[in-house]
Amino acid sequence: MPHLISSTAPRVSIVVPAYNAAETLAETLGSLLAQTFQDFELLVIDDGSSDRTPAIARSFGDRRLRLIQQPNRGLAGARNSGIHHARGEYIGFCDADDLWRPEKLAAHVRHLETRPNVGISFSGSELIDSESQATGLAQRPRLTGITAAHVFKRNPIGNGSAPVIRRAALDAIAFRPAQETARDWWFDESFRQSEDIECWLRMMLTTDWEIEGLRGLLTRYRVAPGGLSAGITRQFAFWERMVEKLTPLAPEFFARETPVARAYQNRYLARRAVSAGNGAEAVNRMRASLACSKRPLLEEPVKTVTTLGATLVLAMAGPAAINRALALVGRRSA
């Protein structure tokens, strides 16, 4: 039984999904093994990499590290395999290019111990570049009083390396689709984007586990420079599919919240288009956002107006003008 909790089992399992992550994996694993809280196992899920990812994982020679290899199933599938093999009472996730501050795990374990109703403990993140240098940007989300509507609109958990989750809360949302014979799913593997938000929102809508954050930027989250604007349409399609999938669970909730959430999602994609230097896409997304709802203007006026401004600067003056402006925007309102 993979998830039997015995006295010899570690308190925590850290799951690292890794796909062709040879460049960053060693630094990621180093940051995890250097945690001040030491009672954990480290599960590296090699999701069908064709580079040196498995060799790097093996080279650590730490008894707490276990390498699990599988044919490629995508991020959700790699996380699910990690959960399936995890023996800890708490399960942390860290993508193979992100870093944890040394005190992160200790803080989340303490939080989950003292707050028995909290299913997902998370924290804010510092954004780093490909050289692991701070960009000056950060995710500083709402930490307390989080409802399903907050998760839907702004996803306070922010990124896949931020949460440490109670095993019992994950098991409350486990399911096994008809075509799956080997193990349960926790994340929905039919999603290649929006798999995080689908999982968190499903937990909020079907269980009474709470999501709560800790102060501090305990995760260092790597953002690729530029990024691809080609993925934006696909990302939005998966987001809409998530809405379509979950709507039957709570039709009134989605009828009430979807227009505003869609406005926020479009605004987020506009910001991604801006950083990818795609002015036309950014303009389209901001138009779509305002057409869905004006609430982001009321609820987060600074961020919405600066995104609008950046979009206009980009559309009129081109990508060169935007880089400095974008950094300023992020520093003030991220």
Partner: protein, 333 residues
């Protein structure tokens, strides 16, 4: 003989009312005590005068009703009090309560006024203890019951299973919207889906079903035995369900039963119901497709007389209250 006052604030037709009828009129229950059903106003339960050796609340807890419960406790300071939690569950909280911590506080405050709290399913009981709402030593699990002899007397469905049925209040709680959408995606001209019930969602459900002649609305069923008799397969896609007596009835009638598995429906899965993995249209279509047109299985799970378990649950609870030092007269068993 021990006198028990059962306080109720809701006499609309439904599970609670039928359970109270069972408590008041079943010989096995009458052997335990003299049961008085006492209707009370929800916010002023202490305003009704009665004399009893034990008070059992079947009331719905709310902030508005909390002062009334405190008054009730004060007025009957020497009388042991039991609360049966008919309303709330994890699924209820997930679907209805954005501010969970505040809601948990309400339940903790209310339950603290009672000597014992009765969960109506194991799953609900697990939730009450997991959330620290009830101390484990004060919790008892007693699944409700009604007289199910007529359901047991029904012949099992014969031939190909093709008549799907659902019974219940037309409320979003029941998830009938998902069921109708899922059924519409199911091929098979000879398949039927009949909904027995009424309620605020009626127009919306009719709208969802319109255009599919295989779906029928049969109205409120005063006699659920007759309704079940007309169905081959029963469906309960509930969004929350502290217990779900209708599921026990379907099982007693040997109808294959598809459930969402939330809350108390998990108890029914352990007793033979089929769990549909998630409350999605695709999931329910797939589950119905798997059973539609098949023959009734020949080997069925052994049936138990679940009424007896309810009665023995109460017998044990009364014995425990007695052993705990409360002066209540125990019946001879």
């Amino acid at each position: 003989m021990l006198r028990i006052a059962h306080l109720i604030d809701d006499q609309s037709p439904g599970g609670v009312t039928r359970y109270l009828d069972f408590i008041a009129h079943t010989p096995g229950m009458a052997k335990l005590a003299r049961h008085m059903i006492v209707p009370v106003p929800r916010t002023h339960p202490a305003s009704v005068r009665f004399e009893a050796d034990l008070i059992v609340s079947h009331l719905a807890v709310s902030w508005r009703g909390l002062p009334g419960l405190i008054t009730l406790r004060a007025r009957h300071a020497g009388t042991p009090m039991v609360h049966v939690e008919h309303s709330y569950s994890e699924g209820f909280t997930a679907a209805n309560v954005p501010a969970r911590a505040r809601f948990h506080t309400l339940l903790r405050c209310a339950y603290a006024l009672f000597d014992r709290v009765v969960a109506v399913s194991q799953a609900q009981g697990d939730w009450l203890t997991r959330r620290g709402l009830v101390r484990p030593e004060t919790l008892a699990v007693i699944r409700p019951s009604v007289d199910m002899s007529e359901f047991r007397a029904l012949p099992a469905p014969e031939g190909r299973l093709h008549n799907f049925g659902a019974i219940g209040r037309f409320d979003r709680q029941k998830g009938f919207d998902v069921m109708i959408r899922a059924f519409r995606d199911l091929p098979g001209n000879d398949l039927r889906l009949t909904l027995y019930g009424d309620g605020p969602e009626r127009a919306r459900l009719e709208e969802l079903a319109s255009g599919d002649v295989r779906i029928r609305f049969a109205g409120f069923a005063p006699d659920p035995v007759r309704a079940v008799a007309q169905c081959d397969v029963m469906l309960m896609p509930s969004r929350w369900e502290p217990y779900g007596i209708a599921a026990a009835e379907a099982r007693a009638a040997r109808r294959p039963l598809l459930v969402s598995g939330v809350d108390g429906l998990a108890d029914h899965v352990e007793m033979g119901a089929i769990r549909v993995p998630d409350l999605s249209v695709e999931g329910w279509t797939a589950a119905m497709a798997q059973i539609a047109g098949t023959q009734m299985p020949t080997s069925l799970p052994a049936r138990r007389i679940e009424e007896q378990q309810t009665i023995s649950g109460w017998r044990q609870l009364l014995a425990e209250i007695h052993a705990g030092g409360d002066v209540i007269a125990l019946p001879q068993t």
